[in-house]
Structure formats: structure tokens, C-alpha cells
């Protein structure tokens, strides 16, 4: 009868686990998020010292309206889009073109090129001298310069993921198309690209996440010249905290996070399986 207590241990844990999970989630994630929502709903006087109490009167929409104009959210939103969309499109197209050839041609040269191409995953970008370079190129402070910098930084990640994925696809499908007389570009577009969809989805999510939320590289490249959501949050917060405008800071945080949260809620299952399938092989 030695197994009896052990079994009941397991049963106790099975009963207890849901409560532990919910409690932990409520404390660790719930409290910070609660603070954001209630503070964003308060008047300036009530929000001076942010706490977990409910606002005596909700001012959420007024605060949204205030930061919408003070934080220039429409301009920042389009600035962010202007940078994120071409960056993602660029890294996916250029990256998967290169990855396909890098995966299929097993020569010493391609091995060296592959190592070089993925080194950017590890190595930090030279943020200061890139500004100088953009000045020489006439791209300083422009969206195009920012797109180039982001593409340079995240191309490595895409090439790493996609090359690994291409290696798992059999070559026979490509060969069938080649025998039918299709050129390399047609083979890539018609045969290879459709099969890359899952890994491209993963890469899209990761890079959107990085670029949409980036403030560090944006500071150096477009700071003060182009509005993006994180740059404007920084501006609102730097001015706002000085004036103790916590209600505006958190109203901005909510508005800024909504697009990504909305995308995540809609495509939640795909995103989770996409991220995890790339990492553990």
C-alpha cells in the first residue's frame, strides 16, 4: 500500500492546481494591468500617487482624447506603420530568397555566407555609427533609413528560421517544376514560397513585435524627425512624469498596446504554435 499516499498527493495537486494558477495570474499579471486601467481612468488629482483604488469618477475617454492629441497618436500610428510594414515585407522577401539558395547549395562558400548572414542574431548593431552612415547616404532621420536599419538588424533572424525550415522540405517538388521548364524565380514563387507559409508567419510575428515596440534604435535614427508610437510614449512620459500625469501615461500605454493585443487575440493559437515550433527542434 505504499502507492496510496503518493496517488492522493497527485490528486490533491490536480485539485489545487487551478486555484494556484488563477491566483498567481491574478497577482503577478492582474495587479499591474489593473493599476494601468484604473489609473488611466482617473483625473489628474487622483492619479498623482497611482494606487489600486477605483477612480471616484471614470475619466477614461477624456484621458484617451487628451493623449490622442497631445501624444499625436494618429501621426505616431502611421509613422509606426510606415516603418513596420515595409520592414516586415522586406525582410521576408529578401530573407527567404537568400535562405532558399543558402539551404539548397551545400558548398563551403554558402556555409561561410550563411554563418555571416546569421551572425546578426548574436552581434549587437552599431547604433552610433549607423547614424553617421545614414548621414553619408542622405537617409538620416528618414523612414527609409529606419527601414534599412531594421532590415539589416532582423534579416539574420529571418534567414536563420527560414533556412532551417527549407532544409526540412524535400527537393522533389522543386525538381518536378524544373522538369516542366520553370525558371528559378518561378520555382521559388510558385513552389517554395507557398510551403514557407508557417515559418514566414512566425517570423512576421516576431519582427512585428520587435519593430512595433522598439524605441532604442528609433531614438538614434529618427528621434525628433518621425513620430512612432514608442517614441511618442517616451515623450509623453518624460514630460508627463515630470508633471505627475500618470493618468495620461497609462492612457497612452493602453491605446498603444491595443493593436498588438487585438491581433494576438484574433490569431492567438496560430501565434503560439508558430513561435514554439521554431525554437525547439
Amino acid at each position: 500500500m505504499t502507492t496510496a499516499p503518493r496517488l492522493s498527493d497527485a490528486r490533491v495537486w490536480t485539485r489545487l492546481q487551478p486555484f494556484v494558477a488563477v491566483l498567481l495570474g491574478a497577482i503577478v499579471i492582474g495587479i499591474p494591468l489593473w493599476l494601468v486601467v484604473v489609473t488611466a481612468g482617473k483625473s489628474q488629482g487622483e492619479a498623482l500617487a497611482p494606487n489600486l483604488a477605483l477612480p471616484s469618477q471614470w475619466h477614461l475617454w477624456e484621458n484617451f482624447a487628451t493623449v490622442w492629441t497631445a501624444g499625436e497618436i494618429p501621426a505616431a500610428f502611421f509613422g509606426s506603420l510606415l516603418v513596420v510594414v515595409p520592414t516586415v515585407a522586406g525582410v521576408l522577401v529578401v530573407g527567404s530568397l537568400a535562405s532558399w539558395v543558402l539551404a539548397r547549395r551545400a558548398t563551403r562558400l554558402t556555409a561561410v555566407l550563411y554563418a555571416l548572414a546569421i551572425s546578426g542574431i548574436v552581434l549587437p548593431p552599431a547604433v552610433v555609427t549607423v547614424v553617421l552612415l545614414l548621414r553619408h547616404l542622405g537617409l538620416a532621420g528618414t523612414a527609409l533609413g529606419m527601414i534599412g536599419v531594421y532590415t539589416g538588424i532582423y534579416l539574420s533572424t529571418v534567414i536563420f528560421f527560414v533556412t532551417g525550415f527549407v532544409r526540412t522540405i524535400p527537393v522533389s517538388l522543386e525538381e518536378a517544376a524544373q522538369i516542366d521548364g520553370a525558371g528559378p524565380f518561378t520555382v521559388f514563387r510558385r513552389v517554395v514560397l507557398p510551403m514557407l507559409r508557417p515559418v514566414l508567419a512566425t517570423a512576421t510575428i516576431l519582427i512585428c513585435l520587435y519593430v512595433w515596440n522598439d524605441v532604442f534604435y528609433a531614438f538614434f535614427v529618427v528621434g525628433g524627425r518621425l513620430d512612432t508610437l514608442p517614441l511618442n510614449l517616451f515623450r509623453v512620459a518624460s514630460a508627463g512624469l515630470y508633471l505627475n500625469n500618470w493618468h495620461l501615461v497609462f492612457a497612452y500605454v493602453i491605446l498603444m498596446s491595443l493593436p498588438l493585443v487585438a491581433v494576438f487575440v484574433v490569431a492567438q493559437r496560430k501565434i503560439i504554435s508558430g513561435i514554439t515550433s521554431g525554437a525547439v527542434k
Binding site: A126, Q178, N213, V215, P230, L260, V280
Partner: protein
């Protein structure tokens, strides 16, 4: 070129007779089907926007480039000796390494604990997992501001502690020259623990059920089965998580900037904070020097760590 000759088309590799089609030299076949110029755009972008600035780092770190004068002169290793002399170089290096290690430890501990807690695929667990992924989606800057508000001396955390212990509690979580770096590392780990959890969950799923059953039949306790079977099989997930946590925190900026801005008394001033601050002051050469230091630090630290973790995977 022996490697090139060993790359027949995989379809034929199973047959024992050589393929009936006359073989072309492999190079020419690939030249038509997988042309090298497909790699060219990627290499051009990487070359211009990644490698060229990195090369510039090695040049401009040895100059007096600044916003105060228009000409740029070589000054040798003066920037390095200046930064070393006033102690900034080594303190920033030490703080960056300490921060990276702390983040790697916390992020993996939290992520692993969450994965074990939420391992079973019940509906409730799936909902709770999504909850823990919200910080991953949020901007790091926003996360920093949330915790700045939460951790003020008169903030919510201290109020909660007062309510529980019924004693006045006014600890300045972000104003302690010794412990604030740990607090900020915990915040960084809080933001990214959901991602680590996902990776560990995926790792746990790869463990075959019959292996655990066999251990159970052999009389192994749940605890022992966990440590003897599950944890070694999680090695690839550990590699990925430790490597990404180290790299992410060494390149960190937003969370530190939004919580402490490098303070108190510059005890949380990691390299990127220093780079940002000196760049803003127009001291471009000093910022470049630290950027080069960061580059060398990551190159020296990351590659051995990844190799070590990979080797451990092979042994286990």
C-alpha cells in the same frame, strides 16, 4: 570540393544503383536552379546597414568625433583610457554582465515554473497562459512605466505589504544602490517570462508519454521522474531560453530607461544607457567606444555560452 560531390539529389540516395541520368557537375546544375544572385540583395542590405556600421565602430572609437566641432581626428586609444581611468568602462561592463546573468536566471526560473504549473492542457490553463503572454506583447517602455508607478515608495506594492503586515513600509524599490539592479532584472524577466514559458511548454510536449509511464511502472516517484527524465530532455529549450535571455538583456535599454534611467547613482547604467546618454550629450566618440565595447563583450560572451549549452545538449 569533396563536400560538393556528396550532395546528390536526396530522392536517389536510397537506391543502391547510381542514378541512370548522366550526372552533371553539381555546380552547374545549381547555378541554373538555385542561382547565387538570389543571395545578393540580402548580403547587400546586411553589408550596408549592419556590417559597414560595425566596421565604422572600429574606426570612430579611436577618434574625437563629437557634435562640438566639424573635423574628426584620430586620437589613438584615448577614449578607452579616459573611460577606464574614471571607472566608467569597468562599472558599465560589470553592471551589464550582472544584469544579463540575473535576467537569464530569473526569466528561466519564472518561465520554467509557469510551464510546469500550466503543463496540463485544460481550458483554464490555456486561458491563464494567454494571460501571461500579455507582457510579452506590451512595449518594454510601457512595462517600465507600470513598474515605476507600482514600486514608488508610496506605491501600490508597499501599500499591499503594509496591508498584509500591518506595519508601515516605505522601501524605495528603485532607489537602492545595491538591490535596484536585481529589481529591474526581475521586471525584465517578468516581461519575457511568458515567452520562456511557451518554449518550455513546447519542450515538455516533446517528451514521449510512454517514457514517463515506464518510469512509473518501475516505481519512480513523480518527483524523480521529473528530474531524471523530463529535465534532461528539456536541454534544447534551456539552450534557446538562456541564449535569448542573455542576448536580450545585454542589448537591453527600454526597461532600465523607463524604471531608473540608469540610477540611483548610475548603479543600473548598463552599456546601452551610457551610449544613449553620451550620444545625447554630443559625445559621439565616447558613445561609439562603448558601442564597440558592447560588441566585443557580446561576441566574447555569447559564442562560448552557446557552444557550452550545445555541448551539454549532446552529452545528455
Amino acid at each position: 570540393m569533396s563536400t560538393a560531390q556528396q550532395t546528390p539529389v536526396p530522392v536517389h540516395s536510397g537506391t543502391q544503383t547510381p542514378a541512370p541520368v548522366p550526372r552533371r557537375p553539381p555546380g552547374t546544375a545549381h547555378r541554373r536552379t538555385h542561382p547565387m544572385w538570389f543571395i545578393a540583395p540580402a548580403l547587400a542590405i546586411l553589408g550596408v546597414f549592419f556590417f559597414l556600421p560595425t566596421l565604422f565602430n572600429f574606426v570612430y572609437a579611436f577618434t574625437d568625433w563629437s557634435s562640438f566641432k566639424s573635423d574628426i581626428n584620430a586620437v589613438g586609444i584615448e577614449n578607452f583610457t579616459d573611460l577606464a581611468a574614471d571607472g566608467t568602462l569597468f562599472s558599465a561592463l560589470r553592471i551589464t554582465v550582472v544584469y544579463a546573468v540575473l535576467v537569464a536566471v530569473f526569466q528561466n526560473a519564472f518561465g520554467f515554473a509557469l510551464a510546469v504549473l500550466l503543463e496540463r492542457d485544460t481550458r483554464l490553463n490555456r486561458v491563464v497562459r494567454v494571460f501571461f503572454l500579455i507582457p510579452v506583447l506590451m512595449s518594454a517602455l510601457a512595462v517600465g512605466y507600470v513598474f515605476q508607478a507600482l514600486l514608488k515608495p508610496d506605491g501600490s506594492l508597499n501599500q499591499l505589504i503594509e496591508a498584509v503586515t500591518r506595519h508601515p513600509f516605505q522601501y524605495a524599490w528603485l532607489g537602492d544602490t545595491t538591490w535596484t539592479i536585481v529589481v529591474v532584472a526581475v521586471i525584465h524577466a517578468w516581461k519575457w517570462m511568458g515567452l520562456s514559458m511557451l518554449i518550455y511548454l513546447a519542450g515538455l510536449k516533446t517528451i514521449p508519454e510512454d517514457l514517463l509511464e515506464a518510469a512509473h511502472i518501475d516505481g519512480a516517484s513523480r518527483w524523480r521522474a521529473f528530474w531524471a527524465i523530463k529535465s534532461p530532455l528539456l536541454a534544447p529549450a534551456v539552450t534557446f531560453n538562456v541564449a535569448t535571455a542573455l542576448l536580450g538583456s545585454m542589448n537591453g535599454f527600454d526597461i532600465v530607461q523607463a524604471t531608473t534611467g540608469g540610477g540611483p547613482a548610475r548603479t543600473t547604467e548598463i552599456l546601452n544607457i551610457f551610449i544613449y546618454r553620451t550620444f545625447g550629450q554630443g559625445l559621439f566618440a565616447q558613445a561609439t567606444t562603448m558601442s564597440l565595447v558592447l560588441f566585443l563583450l557580446v561576441a566574447l560572451m555569447a559564442f562560448p555560452v552557446i557552444r557550452f549549452l550545445r555541448k551539454r545538449e549532446e552529452i545528455l
